[in-house]
């Protein structure tokens, strides 16, 4: 269960990035992306902006819930009033080696493409998952608003504050 959290500015430029693992179920809060997949996270999140552009007009909600998926990565989005996007990539892969055993048929291949072999039980639209991520987003939003109230903060400026990062990490530990 690894997470990649990114704040994306109005120019689709990254303002803040953070990787962490789950702290629930005995997790130690360390991200465990596979090495070959880690560099793809940015690309995946970036490509999800296409979906954000579409679904942001659907309702007045800031929390857009689960919006996209790429292989075994699930993207959740929270959009602020200033069109800054909080994107959370969730990889439920617990880093177990893929099951290369008997089911090598086409059906197995396809389900693995759906990312359901590694965590077949994971459901991104489950209320518990949505709620936890929503709480995380809301807490980050709270910190975010305080950050951008800084008179020296300009639009689309990168956030480098270690305090901000610490608060995001705390929110992650608390909710995810």
């Amino acid at each position: 269960m690894s997470y990649y959290f990114a704040i994306v500015g109005t120019q689709d430029n990254p303002l803040f990035e953070h990787e962490f693992g789950t702290s629930k179920q005995g997790g130690d809060g360390v991200a465990r992306f596979r090495e070959e997949a880690r560099h793809m996270n940015q690309f995946i999140v970036h490509s999800s902006l296409d979906i954000v552009d579409e679904v942001q007009w659907n309702g007045g909600q800031m929390y857009l819930k689960h919006i996209d998926r790429f292989h075994n990565n699930y993207i959740f989005c929270f959009i602020t009033a200033g069109s800054v996007k909080f994107l959370l990539l969730h990889n439920p892969d617990t880093h177990t080696p893929p099951n290369a055993s008997s089911r090598s048929s086409a059906a197995t291949a396809r389900t693995s493409a759906y990312g359901q072999s590694a965590s077949t039980t994971y459901n991104p639209t489950a209320p518990a998952v949505e709620e936890a991520i929503k709480n995380f987003f809301v807490e980050v939003y709270d910190v975010w608003v305080k950050t951008i109230m800084n008179p020296f903060f300009k639009l689309d400026m990168k956030v480098t504050s270690p305090v901000f990062r610490g608060r995001v990490a705390a929110a992650a530990r608390k909710h995810l």
């Binding site: 109005t10 120019q11 689709d12 940015q42 690309f43 995946i44 970036h46 490509s47 999800s48 902006l49 296409d50 979906i51 552009d53 579409e54 679904v55 659907n58 309702g59 919006i67 996209d68 998926r69 790429f70 292989h71 893929p98 290369a100 090598s104 048929s105 086409a106 059906a107 197995t108 291949a109 396809r110 389900t111 693995s112 493409a113 759906y114």
Partner: protein, 1297 residues
């Protein structure tokens, strides 16, 4: 477009086109292109089959129907054809071989007897064609009709006696009639096919076929499908088929078949279905919904039956839990419904299309489309109804698709029942493309467009994107992406095509970022495949697979390599129809597609783009496509660059790719470019990456003497010259002394003379840039400025000299540079000297950018003029040795200058001479100060303008100097202390019409020389005093003269003779007979000695000594000057008086010296004389003077008359009263001793003398003193008023004894 990704591929008839016999590639490609361009054919154009037994598809029943063909020239793949007839478009019904008629007649032309010859070889060829035809039949057993088309390129070629199965295609022959003929032959065959299917009782599921290739790995599946034999062709016996088919399928009840095939033979759509589950699919050629759709347009009732059959079979499949066939039925049903709706035929949406059969009836009806008009011939629906129906249909389409996908997904869990991955992916892509195509702003692919009704005026409504639209479509495409290859059995070719289709679908959906993410996968998969294919190809060609690109020269002609992989790329590009399909140059399309993706998506990540392009380079290398390598590499550099123009002084910009990679890419780039040149391949090249290559343009100054200097008409203001007098030469203020400044964007060139520019180029990258050619784009055609072979060093701003020669006169401007960088397309660059960076665009939404707030970089435009051929003067003779001259102070010397015009083609018709020296320069700079006392200013201006040290005395008026002709000038120099060097400047040019324009250009020749001035006699000091009492009368009269004392010192080494002259004219102007100085008074002064000269000089009358001190520079003249110095008015008054009297004195005196030994002579500078205020009083003559004209006779008691003369020197009339004061020395009695006699006089006119008399009587002895006094009175109504001014005359003493 044999495209399994098109949503309507199931509704199109696939035709395989192959070469049969010898045919040139271009003829083949052209013919395929012609075939593809042919539109769908109308059923009414097809002749009905004569045989009633084979009349199942009778086109005459549906004259409005259409058949749309799709042609493929690619070879079939086994993994795909096993899906036939589950998906009928996997196999062609019609196989066409193309043969070139000219290839066959070629032999005949060589024979003498043409007619005989053409016939004989023709017969031989036709028999060859027969063998080709049978070969086609062997290779494509599933094809129903096999034909060979003989392409006749020459109209007059006579071909006869063709065997069966061979058709001809002549130029300008209607391709549609050919297709109609083929269709007429095909339809009866399809009847046979349908009947053969009807003979089957059930049908295999695709996976059974899939097993054939894979072997049986699944025990359970294997037991059920015990057959490994390939799928039988329709001609196989039904018994065999039965045996091989899975038995899990619900066996079709015979009662279901018979009514369809028997009782309604005329409904082709329902016809073919022998098993409920296979519905359409099994009617391979027979054309389930698709063919039905186009065939059965008119009889609406029959359509109703067809739909009913479809829904029945789907219902049956669902009931029996056969999800695969259920899904397939629904899929085809959806297509069928759409086609019906578009063609305006009444239909009723079957219940099976709704998500649940328990759906309320009301809701169903609400969604229902036009009330079905019964099975009969219902009239065609009105457009409104049709639109309503289409809207209703569109509403359920997303739900329907969801249902179908759900059904397909359920087959996962059934072992042996699921689709192969590629088929599953294709299904998903088909749905996604369908949704995109139907939605707003989506675009229809070619297949869909062909199937849309073209004849009706109906504007089809668009499917509106709902909230879930993006998610749903994206999910479908996501599902279509094949899993990593180690999980799946999917081939590289299939993966590549599927990924390509996903990419293009994302693009069509407007999700550029998504499409790029997938595109990376696509290229990753493609590259190893290409490399492998090339190795195989090289091995086939007998070369070592490890041979590099360069060694593949012989067969390296790109895009001609007929490998399987390249064919699959072709297929991929057909599948994405972002771009029109071309039969060659597929890789270009790929890049264009990449370009399109990257350019439309403004917000996509640069890193992603670069990553993609790196992969594109590898693809191009693998193909190999050298031009593609160039283009992609250039595109990488474009993206990696900053996209802005940095400050030239500090071009520190961030390049996205590291230096090592830049160097590597650049080396590869230039190597490839060289390779293309060496091979002689056509070169297109890339687009140069830095739009700010040219950062500056300057005109280099020509060598000294050749530059043209801008002059203005104002520099020659004649009025100013007249005011000053021509003494100093024609020019007042030295316009010609202005030095030209550095180069500007105003340039002057001379026709016929070479000029040079320096172009500043920038290179922000860490590699050397090779530039083949650099050329300035001038507005003159014959003004070519070009340089070839430039190397621009890494990471620097470099200037390059470039030269050219203008041929004709006229205005010219340079706006751009045309540069051909090596390996790139020629490009013109604007000249952008200043820093510039693109403004931040505000993203509004959906990638829309705020386009209006764009500021453009400031462009540099060089404006220039090309002048007529100009002369070039050079100094050929100077009468000074060593360019130096020695003079004594005050001495004048002359020298000669000879110039020659060296130009043969032009003459000078304008020559101006400006002498200059260091004193003058100093004074001119001093004159620029504002706070100079006016008297000093006047003195300096006098020296500058009136008394120059160097002046031209001969040749001043010479204006014309012909070509190769000399011209002589003479100059005079005056020695002054401090003069050390001087120069003479010639400004000359050729003016085409000999008249000065507002501004023009001249050339300049400057002749400097040094001057040594030796001292001679100098005035050390001077003093003025009142003349002493002169009882002897030797001296001049005291009242009109004063005494001047001057000290002169001889500073030279030799004795000099000084002579002092008085300018008598200035004195006589005063109207006073001056007492002349001893004119020509001479005195020899020994070396180093000082001599004092004293002399009486006449006093001076100045009527208005308080007027402002003038300025000799007309530009500095001021009209109203009250006070120029900051002091009190009295000071100003004193200064002005001193100035006027001093200048009057200086003008009246002159001194000169001669050297008795050498005979040299010169003048002594007296301008240093300046008067103190008390000296001014000495020098001054009053306005009114009173003189005694007769003496009084002092005799007691004798009356005497005193006569006076009154002189008014002013220009005004003065009213005066003459008074005579008379006192007696020693008397204190006021009455007797002292009194005033006064006499009122009327007025004295200007410059007039008046005589007056007083009568006196001496009554007392003693010394009488008479003082005549003139009192000016203010005139007021006849009465004398108070006195204004008084002047006293000389007192007289009379002694009365």
């Amino acid at each position: 477009m044999g495209d399994s990704f098109s949503p309507f591929s199931a509704a199109r008839m696939l035709i395989q086109v192959l070469p049969a016999g010898p045919i040139k590639a271009n003829v083949f490609n052209d013919t395929v292109k012609i075939l593809r361009e042919a539109g769908p054919i109308q059923l009414r154009d097809i002749n009905p089959p004569p045989d009633p037994d084979r009349n199942l598809f009778n086109p005459s029943k549906f004259p409005r129907g259409r058949i749309s063909f799709s042609f493929t020239s690619s070879s079939k793949s086994l993994s795909h054809s096993v899906l036939y007839p589950f998906e009928t478009f996997r196999e062609p019904f019609l196989v066409l071989g193309l043969a070139d008629a000219s290839e066959f007649s070629l032999d005949g032309d060589h024979d003498v007897d043409a007619r005989e010859a053409t016939r004989d070889p023709g017969k031989r060829s036709f028999s060859e064609l027969n063998s080709h035809l049978s070969q086609l039949r062997d290779n494509y057993p599933n094809g129903l009709v096999h034909r060979i088309i003989l392409v006749v390129s020459r109209q007059d070629q006579h071909i006869s006696d063709l065997p069966d199965g061979i058709l001809t295609l002549r130029p300008r022959e209607s391709i549609n009639s050919l297709l109609c003929g083929l269709a007429a032959q095909l339809l009866p065959e399809m009847t046979g096919l349908v009947k053969s299917f009807q003979a089957l009782q059930n049908y295999p599921s695709p996976l059974a076929l899939n097993r054939d290739g894979q072997g049986d790995e699944n025990g359970a599946g294997g037991s059920r499908r015990g057959s490994l034999r390939p799928f039988p062709s329709p001609s196989s016996s039904s018994q065999d088929i039965k045996a091989s088919h899975r038995m899990s399928m619900p066996v079709m009840s015979s009662s279901a078949v018979s009514p369809l095939s028997g009782s309604r033979p005329g409904t082709p759509g329902t016809e073919g279905r022998s098993t409920p589950a296979t519905t359409f699919d099994d009617i391979p050629g027979a054309v389930p919904p698709h063919v039905a759709s186009r065939i059965s347009t008119p009889p609406a009732g029959l359509w109703g039956d067809a739909l009913r059959e479809l829904s029945e079979s789907a219902t049956r499949a669902r009931a029996s839990g056969d999800y695969l066939w259920h899904a397939k039925s629904l899929e085809n049903l959806a297509v069928c419904l759409l086609l019906l709706a578009w063609n305006g035929i009444s239909f009723r949406i079957p219940d099976i299309c709704y998500p649940s059969s328990t759906r309320p009836l009301a809701a169903m009806k609400g969604l229902q489309s036009p009330p079905s008009g019964g099975p009969g011939d219902a009239p065609a629906a009105t457009p409104e109804e049709v639109i309503e129906a289409i809207r209703g249909l569109y509403e359920i389409i997303p739900e329907l698709i969801h249902m179908i996908r759900d059904a397909y997904n359920r087959t996962w869990d059934i072992p042996g029942e699921s689709l192969p991955q590629f088929a599953y992916s294709e299904i998903n892509i088909r749905f996604a493309r369908l949704l995109v195509g139907l939605s707003d702003d989506g675009h229809l692919d070619g297949g869909m467009r062909q199937l849309m009704p073209t004849d009706s005026k109906l504007v089809l409504p668009r499917f509106s994107r709902g909230r879930a639209f993006a998610r749903q479509t994206s999910d479908m495409l996501q599902a279509a992406i094949p899993p990593p290859s180690d999980f799946s059995d999917i081939s590289i070719m299939d993966t590549v095509t599927i990924l390509g289709a996903v990419v293009s679908s994302y693009s069509a959906l407007g999700m550029a970022r998504k499409s790029m993410l997938v595109l990376q996968d696509f290229l990753d998969t493609l590259i190893p495949g290409l490399v492998q294919a090339r190795k195989v190809g090289a091995a086939e060609a007998g070369m070592h697979p490890a041979a590099g690109i360069a060694n593949l020269q012989s067969q390296a002609v790109p895009s001609q390599d007929p490998g399987q992989l390249v064919e699959s790329i072709l297929k991929f590009f057909e599948s994405i129809d972002l771009l029109p399909v071309r039969s060659d140059g597929q890789e270009e399309q790929e890049e264009q597609e990449v370009d399109a993706t990257s350019s439309t998506a403004i917000s996509t990540n640069k890193d992603t783009k670069i990553n993609l392009l790196r992969k594109c380079i590898k693809v191009c290398e693998a193909l190999p496509d050298f031009n593609g390598v160039l283009r992609c590499t250039a595109a990488v550099f474009t993206l990696a660059g900053p996209g802005s123009a940095p400050n030239i002084a500090s071009p520190d910009v961030f390049i996205l790719i590291p230096p090592e990679e830049q160097i590597m890419l650049a080396a590869n780039f230039y190597r490839t470019s060289d390779l293309i040149d060496n091979l002689g391949l056509p070169k297109s090249g890339g687009d140069y990456w830095d739009p700010f290559l040219v950062r500056g343009l300057e005109v280099q100054l020509p060598p000294p003497g050749r530059e043209m200097i801008s002059r203005r008409m104002n520099d020659f203001d004649n009025t100013a010259i007249e005011q000053i007098g021509a003494k100093a030469g024609p020019f007042l203020h030295n316009a010609f002394n202005k030095k030209t400044k550095g180069p500007t964007n105003q340039a002057v060139f001379v026709a016929g003379e070479s000029c040079s520019f320096s172009v500043t180029l920038q290179n922000l990258f860490d590699f050397e840039i090779h530039i083949d050619s650099l050329e300035l784009v001038t507005s003159m055609d014959d003004f070519v400025v070009r340089r070839e072979g430039i190397r621009l060093g890494p990471h620097r701003v470099q200037m390059f000299a470039i030269s050219g020669t203008p041929k004709t006169a006229g205005p010219v401007h340079v706006t751009e540079c045309k540069v051909i960088p090596k390996g790139c397309m020629p490009k013109t660059f604007d000249i952008i000297p200043g820093p510039w960076s693109p403004p931040d665009l505000i993203k509004i939404s959906d990638g829309l950018a705020d386009a209006k707030a764009k500021d453009e970089p400031k462009l540099f435009i060089l404006e220039g003029t090309v002048l007529e051929p100009q002369p070039l003067l050079d100094l050929t003779k100077l009468s000074l040795s060593q360019k130096a001259i020695e003079v004594l102070e005050g001495e004048r010397k002359s020298f000669k200058v000879t110039l020659t015009n060296h130009m043969t083609s032009s003459r000078a018709n304008f020559v101006r001479i400006t002498p200059q020296d260091n004193i003058r320069v100093y004074l001119q700079s001093a004159l620029k100060e504002r706070d100079i006392r006016p008297s000093f200013r006047y003195e300096m201006e006098y020296q500058v303008y009136q008394d120059p040290n160097v002046r031209c005395i001969k040749g001043l008026d010479q204006q014309n100097i012909g070509s190769n002709e000399p011209a002589e000038f003479e100059f005079e120099i005056l020695g002054k202390p401090g003069l050390s060097h001087a120069s003479i400047q010639f400004d000359y040019c050729y003016l085409p019409d000999s008249t000065l324009k507002e501004s023009f250009f001249t050339r300049m020749l400057e002749i400097p020389f040094t001057v040594a001035v030796k001292p001679s006699i100098r005035l050390l000091g001077s003093h003025l005093a009142v003349l002493p009492q002169d009882p002897m009368g030797v001296l001049a009269p005291r009242d009109r003269n004063c005494w001047m004392i001057m000290d002169f010192r001889n500073l030279s080494h030799t004795p000099l003779k000084l002579s002092l002259q008085q300018n008598s004219e200035s004195a006589s102007e005063e109207g006073i007979s001056s007492v002349s100085l001893k004119d020509g008074q001479e005195e020899l002064i020994a070396s180093g000695r000082t001599s004092t000269v004293s002399s009486a000089i006449p006093k001076v009358f100045i009527e208005r000594p308080h007027t402002a001190i003038p300025s000799l520079d007309p530009t500095k003249e001021q009209q109203f000057v009250l006070r120029t110095s900051g002091g009190a008015p009295i000071d100003e008054r004193v200064e002005r008086e001193c100035f006027w009297f001093s200048s009057s004195l200086i003008n009246s005196l002159s001194a000169s010296w001669t050297d008795p030994d050498s005979g040299k002579s010169g003048t002594v500078n007296l301008r240093d004389i300046s008067l103190a205020p008390d000296e001014v009083d000495v020098l001054r003559l009053d306005d009114v003077s009173i003189f005694w004209t007769s003496e009084l006779k002092g005799s007691l008691g004798v009356p005497s008359t005193a006569k006076f003369k009154l002189l008014n020197r002013t220009q005004e009339t003065i009213r005066v009263e003459l008074q005579l004061y008379r006192t007696i020395a020693g008397f204190v009695d006021r009455i007797a001793g002292s009194h005033v006699e006064s006499q009122l006089m009327s007025a004295i006119g200007p410059n007039t003398e008046v005589e007056e008399e007083f009568d006196c009587m001496f009554e007392i002895k003693g010394h009488h003193v008479f003082v005549p006094t003139v009192v000016e009175r203010e005139a007021r109504d006849g009465a004398m008023d108070r006195p204004l001014r008084t002047w006293q005359g000389e007192p007289k003493f009379v002694t009365v004894k």
